[in-house]
């Protein structure tokens, strides 16, 4: 294959030239590739869908890590579900945390990412504060919820799409168990697709999370390789103070952290919770759709 054509939608697709294939594995029902593209650097695809590219992964990882971490202000214990490429971990360990647990379903994804996408983890898998658990994310939160262990201040669900290996991470039960793993003032965030093309995903998440958290909302950032404009991230917390901190507070926390970012800054943080009108509208669908199909 000299070109990669995404299979996410029927009527449109993005096509990437494959300049050099680094890794390809085909197991039953699963097709993983890591290849080089002149424009985007190394690209990882799973089952015909772009997962991450070196050129724009910073937008996704910075926004899914730094927004909840800096909003919380004192996040010490972090849980990452998924995120085998290591990019999320890389951003999380830049914070003065005590502990991070990452739950990845497949050790080989971690090994493969360290070898073929080294810039994503950038050594973060060596961090002594990391507890890497190879398990199904659903099993993990289910078992942890009743374990009596110290809960997490921030939970980041860095999953694949709702169809595929990550599908249990889009179920009611997963969200309920995850909430039980979260400290009272904790924040949970999840990747939530590109609503321009995937409005249903936004509505499904809203239904699942809004009953669990006193404050449930979305924020967004455009990730070019997730074709279709803004990507949304779901935000759930009972800590209403975390949702809209003062800009000056964020600025203070961010400068105290002393890290360089390429997308995140305190102004973007606040602004990312402002949603385009089409996204707001798709959260309140007209009811004459699904139920009244006939």
């Amino acid at each position: 294959m000299k070109h990669f054509k995404e299979t996410l939608y029927d009527a449109v697709c993005q096509e990437y030239r494959i300049d050099k294939m680094y890794f390809e594995s085909k197991t039953s029902h699963q097709h993983l590739m890591i290849f080089h593209n002149a424009q985007l650097g190394r690209v990882m695809t799973l089952d015909g869908i772009v997962q991450t590219t070196e050129a724009d992964e910073f937008i996704y990882h910075e926004m899914l890590a730094h927004v909840p971490m800096l909003a919380h202000g004192n996040a010490k214990r972090i849980l990452i579900i998924g995120g085998g490429d290591g990019g999320m971990l890389r951003e999380v360990v830049k914070h003065p945390i005590d502990h991070v647990t990452q739950v990845e379903i497949d050790q080989s994804v971690v090994d493969m990412a360290i070898e073929f996408l080294p810039k994503h983890s950038n050594g973060a898998y060596q961090d002594p504060r990391l507890n890497l658990v190879i398990d199904d994310g659903f099993n993990f939160v289910k078992n942890f919820a009743n374990s009596g262990e110290a809960k997490f201040d921030v939970i980041i669900s860095d999953s694949t799409d709702p169809i595929g290996p990550g599908e249990v991470l889009f179920t009611d039960d997963f969200y309920q168990y995850a909430k039980q793993c979260l400290a009272d003032d904790g924040v949970m965030v999840t990747q939530n697709g590109v609503p321009f093309f995937q409005a249903d995903e936004l509505q499904n998440t809203q239904q699942r999370m809004s009953s669990l958290y006193s404050d449930m909302r979305f924020y967004c950032a455009p990730v070019p390789s997730y074709y279709g404009g803004f990507m949304t991230f779901a935000w759930g917390t009972d800590n209403t103070g975390a949702s809209a901190p003062e800009l000056s507070v964020l600025q203070q926390r961010f400068s105290a952290l002393g890290i360089k970012t390429r997308y995140y800054n305190p102004a973007i943080h606040g602004a990312s919770f402002a949603l385009p009108q089409y996204v707001i509208d798709s959260l309140t669908p007209s009811t004459d759709n699904i139920e009244n199909g006939q």
Binding site: M1, K5, T7, L8, Y9, D10, A11, C13, E24, K26, S28, H29, Q30, H31, D47, G48, I163, G164, E167, F197, Q198, A199, D200, E201, D288, N289, I290, N292, G293, Q294
Partner: protein, 387 residues
């Protein structure tokens, strides 16, 4: 007594240079054992190109079910063809060849939710439905897919009726398209299957005309226009060895298609026409006896194996033997214990000896695909030539 089996039978007298053919088959048996199926990739290439010429502008999607074999898939892949798939097993076969789901259409009208999800993971985005229950199953996936609505047009001449079990009536089309629109599902076009192995293209032509007018009518008011017409299969194999000409067969279909708007996408799902002539069966006479006035020959392959299509597919394959002379009423039976395992009953043929070969022609479609493992007999091995 059963009627005379009058299928084409090639003997020493009816073929040029049978010695060369025989030597070739014997060499294959010596090398690979018996029974065999021999796939000649050049024949498939030739048929694919002929059908492309006969239906210019029509995208061909090989019906993988006709013969789900890795070598066959690789030839179609190299020719740039698409694939008509209907199961997870067929998707796995394509995945082995790294064939993108974008080059497939999932044509099974009835699907379990897990099958839809598997197909989406594989990368298929075109699905076929023929009723409202099936449409509703697709609601969760509506942002990702385009749907073809299968319409039923039955051909009286089809040897295999594919419109009895699936397909909505043309009267239901407008209602279903509108129901889909309300469900947020995009029906991107219509599909039909007049049946397999039809004598002529009259039903194709009627169906093209009917779909054309339905689509035009819908497009007057639809939010999203219909622009795909899937004309299915039905293109026959030449089981009669009568010199079937695909150009002539397709001429009326070409005429009917030429009336369609030029920006519509026309696709077809040929299986039998492409692969039937590309595969030849070679069996060996394992035993012989004289019973009830017939000469019985017992082969090492039969109805439960490569000849399963005689039962499931209603096909009658032309046979070839490498003997000549006086013909006797004979019965050719397969290797299993079952009385149904008879390839040809009351066929007139020259006298054969144990160890002789019997060759079956046009045996690529719905042959190995429907074989069983009854009696735990070994399968005919598929040998590939000219890959």
């Amino acid at each position: 007594m059963s009627a005379l089996d009058n299928r084409p039978l090639l003997t020493l007298e009816s073929v040029d240079q049978p010695e060369q053919q025989l030597a070739h088959y014997q060499q294959l048996l010596k090398q690979h054992g018996s029974p065999l199926l021999v796939f000649d990739a050049n024949v498939l290439r030739n048929k694919f190109e002929s059908l492309q010429k006969a239906l210019p502008g029509v995208d061909l999607y090989y019906a993988v079910k006709a013969h789900p074999d890795s070598h066959i898939v690789s030839v179609i892949d190299a020719l740039g063809g698409g694939f008509d798939i209907a199961s997870a097993g067929e998707m796995d076969l394509l995945l082995k060849h790294k064939i993108s789901g974008r080059r497939t259409i999932h044509t099974h009208p009835i699907k379990k939710d897990q099958e839809i999800r598997d197909a989406l993971r594989f990368g298929a985005t075109t699905f076929v439905v023929d009723n409202l229950y099936e449409l509703k199953k697709l609601v969760n996936y509506r942002s990702r897919i385009g749907v073809l609505l299968r319409v039923s047009f039955r051909s009286e001449s089809a040897k295999v009726d594919l419109s009895k079990k699936f397909g909505c009536s043309p009267d239901e089309v407008i209602e279903l398209v509108s129901a889909a629109e309300k469900l947020g599902i995009h029906i991107k076009g219509l599909s039909f299957h007049v049946g397999s192995q039809v004598d002529n293209a009259a039903k194709h032509v009627e169906a093209v005309h009917a779909c054309h007018s339905l689509m035009e009518q819908i497009n007057l008011s639809a939010d999203k226009p219909l622009s795909v017409l899937d004309i299915g299969g039905g293109f026959p194999a030449d089981y009669a060895l009568a010199g079937f000409d695909i150009q002539t067969f397709c001429a009326p279909i070409r005429d009917a298609l030429s009336a369609l708007p030029s920006d519509w996408h026309i696709i077809a799902e040929p299986g039998r026409y492409l692969i039937a002539p590309a595969v030849t069966s070679i069996t060996t006479v394992a035993g012989k006896s004289h019973r009830n006035g017939f000469v019985w020959y017992y082969l090492d392959d039969g109805i439960y194996g490569s000849y399963s299509g005689q039962l499931f597919d209603h096909a009658v394959y032309p046979l070839q033997v490498f003997r000549g002379g006086e013909k006797h009423a004979s019965i050719i039976a397969g290797p299993t214990c079952d009385s149904i395992d008879v390839v040809a009953e009351n066929i007139l043929m020259p006298s054969l000896e144990i160890g002789d070969l019997i060759v079956g022609h046009q045996m690529g479609a719905y042959t190995a695909a429907t074989k069983t493992r009854f009696n735990s007999l070994p399968d005919a091995k598929l040998i590939v030539e000219n890959l």
